[in-house]
Amino acid sequence: MTRADSHSTGLDRAEISPAEYRGRARRLADEATARGLEAVLVWSKGGGTVDRYADVLYLTNHYTQFPHIPDLPPHWAGRAHAACIVTREGETILVSDIADWRRDLVVADRVVVDLDLTRGVAAVLGELALDRTRVGLAAAETMVLGTWRLLRSRLPGVEWVPVDDVLERMRAIKSDAEIGVIREAVKVGDAIMGAMLEACVPGATEADVAAAGYHAGIVRGCAPYDLPGASGPNANAFSHGSLPSWSRRTLEPGDLYHSDMYGAYHGYYYDYTRSTVVGAEPTDDQLRVLEGAIGAVEAVIDALEPGVTFGDAYERGAAYLRDNGFDAGTPDDVVSGLGQAFPSFGHSLGLAWESPWIVPGNPASVAPNMYLAVEAAVGLPGVGAAGFEQDVLITAGGVEVLPALTARWWER
């Protein structure tokens, strides 16, 4: 886990030691044993995209960058995914779809390469005499239906018990080593969003702004995920672009502009939003929207301290919007697309977006060493919508806001 020189190859972080990975597997094994399970099968995706890789990476530091191609039996099936089997003893067996998995990065007791991933899993479980037992399965949000069909047909004697919650709960509390990487990830986020806002000038296109962000992130070693944004007459939308999530619209003076931004640095997410007005002072109405988004987020952040429930934090944001006259509109009259599409003020994050979510009634409590994204989008009819989001760490004493980038770019 050491690097030969100073360059980054993505997941080469010596800070997170092999012992930390093994400790995670051990905890998962203990939890599985307590639930009467003989083993756990953990399933994740890679494929060059930045979604759904968390659990296998968390246990083994493995990511497959081979792209997601449809199954073609008997040649391959389950490509771009990876499986990790954890036994009651805490032994980890990684099943990889690529021959060139990184020997210097992966932490596992054994690695099996099979281009048909469920075939590899069935072979390992058979060999361990676990193919007629109760096995935990962490795959609900990562395994596709075609793979699920294959898995059940190849292992008809296994009783699969969902355990997605176990890893998500473990992942929600970050270690000191993880927090070190997270701080660096948010700094890269600052560089990306800073470059985007610098590029956000009259005459530039939304795509030019996105390109500036991509460049700033890529040269620093990040894996970009997406930059969904909108501007001017389309500012009510979360993203007006559709594949990609930005358009080639030319920005005009006085346009409201907003963009969310997410990606991974050494596996860990940065995820925050900024809004501004292009090349002009905001009007009073625009300022009301811009400050409204910031105010809602700050109201939620003010509520975050160890012991507070996520449901309570949600109510603080909802009260702010109510008290300040913001309304998400209706599907036929969209005022703020995100306000309707995402009835939440944020979530935990780390190797993924993960629970707990800041949604109504969530009884989960805020705890030290959580890493959260707090977000809001608000709009006014005829004005447009603005979004705002901060990444925060929960400490023993309260909250540390991580982005160094100003909330009010228009004041610069």
């Binding site: 995209t49 990511y63 239906l145 599409a341």
Partner: protein, 402 residues
């Protein structure tokens, strides 16, 4: 995309062809499921039928709040118009050709309601989307529509997609044009000693994003790591500094108006390969050229595989050394020499047992990766359209960077 890429009549034609295929399989209709959320990888089938991709990211299901985010579904009865179910209110009214669009944060729940409304609640439905639909929304679909008989039909829309219309071929040409500019920018940077792999990719992505491309990935390896398909992990490139004499190869893919470009180039940094390196570079380039030269309607997909593979075998460069040790990763990881593509990667694949005959109007990526122990590996890929008498090359940038 800035505007709907096809006239309404082309979507109607797709619906009719899909309905005919459904009737042939004795289905009452189709339920087509795709994923968006930013990545380009599993959006093809709904995009083909409804020109919709959700930009909302994939987040875990929280019943009571949302289920099936980043997904979208098309319900297409064997007769009649389709219904599109989307997960966000700000779907693009100007791009979607479907009249009946429903927004719900519970995508499988809304699909079940549509099935009931359209008399399909206990119907026999072809379920398309086995490589896109996740287990969690599938479970919710089963519980929301318990009487529906869901028959696996993953290949049904994919088969329709393999034959491109003239307008689709134009879009593939435009995508390749963007890809040509993207890879040119990457190679110009990579040829200069002192650049990093990341700077080469950043140069290419700057071109891609400004042109409206949705980038997918760029798998890169260089120098002592060139036997890897890509050495970087999240991202698929590193910040390694390229040195004079290093092998560098990149396989990059992205979508313009939904349609992919997908090609690979390789070089030696500084542009002066050694004799050994040149042998490797020429082997992969000549192998792919042998494949493209073989293309014409009627040739079987496996014959294209054989044409490419034959060159590598004759030159003793199959990717695995004589002692059995792996040299080039893809020799094991990807035992194929290409594939059809359009809105996604699709059948037919160029593998040794694929008997499908190539047809005019199909589009292929033809590729090879090979190397020599102690020398390193190279990767090369060309995009082509099958014409009445051969192949139209879409990848028009240089092949030899020395």
């Amino acid at each position: 995309m800035a505007e709907a890429p096809f006239p309404h009549s082309e979507y109607e034609e797709r619906w009719r062809r899909a309905q005919a295929a459904a009737i042939e399989r004795e289905l009452d209709g189709l339920l087509v499921w795709s994923k968006g959320g930013g990545p380009v990888d599993t959006c093809a089938d709904v995009l083909y039928l409804a020109n919709h991709v959700s930009p909302f990211p994939l987040i875990a299901d929280i019943p009571g709040h949302w289920i099936g985010r980043a997904h979208a579904a098309v319900v297409l009865p064997s007769e009649g118009e389709p219904t599109l179910v989307v997960d966000l209110p700000d779907w693009r009214r100007d791009l979607v050709p479907v009249e009946d669009v429903r927004f719900s944060l519970d995508v499988p729940g809304e699909v079940a309601a549509v099935l009931a409304e359209r008399g399909l609640a206990d119907g026999r439905l072809g379920l398309v989307g086995g490589n896109a639909m996740l287990v969690s929304p599938y479970r919710h679909l089963l519980s929301s529509a318990p009487a529906a008989e869901l028959v696996e039909a993953d290949d049904l829309v994919e088969a329709l997609r393999a034959d491109k219309s003239p307008r689709e071929l134009d879009l593939l040409r435009a995508a390749a044009d963007a890809g040509n500019a993207v890879v040119t920018a990457m190679m110009e940077t990579a040829l200069k000693p002192g650049s990093t792999e990341a700077e080469a990719i950043a140069a290419g992505y700057a071109v891609a994003v400004a042109r409206g491309v949705a980038t997918y990935d760029a798998a890169v390896a260089s120098g002592p790591n060139s036997d890897f398909y890509s050495y970087g992990r999240l991202p698929s490139w590193t910040t390694r500094t390229l040195e004079q004499g290093d092998f560098f190869h990149v396989d990059t893919y992205g979508a313009l108006d939904g349609y992919l470009y997908d090609f690979a180039r390789c070089c030696v940094v500084g542009g002066r390969p050694s004799a050994d390196q040149r042998e490797v570079l020429e082997a992969v380039i000549d192998a792919v050229h042998a494949g493209t030269a073989r293309i014409r309607p009627g040739v079987r997909a496996r014959e294209l595989y054989e044409a490419v593979h034959g060159v590598l075998v004759r030159r003793g460069m199959t990717g695995t050394a004589e002692n059995g040790e792996l040299v080039s990763a893809l020799d094991v990881s990807f035992p194929a020499h290409g594939h059809s593509f359009g809105l996604g990667w699709e059948r037919p694949w160029l593998v040794p047992d694929e008997d499908t005959e190539v047809r005019a109007g199909m589009c292929f990526g033809i590729e090879a990766m090979a190397g020599r122990a102690g020398v390193g590996s190279a990767k090369f890929e060309q995009d082509v359209i099958v014409t009445a008498d051969g192949a139209e090359l879409l990848t028009t940038i240089p092949t030899h960077y020395w």
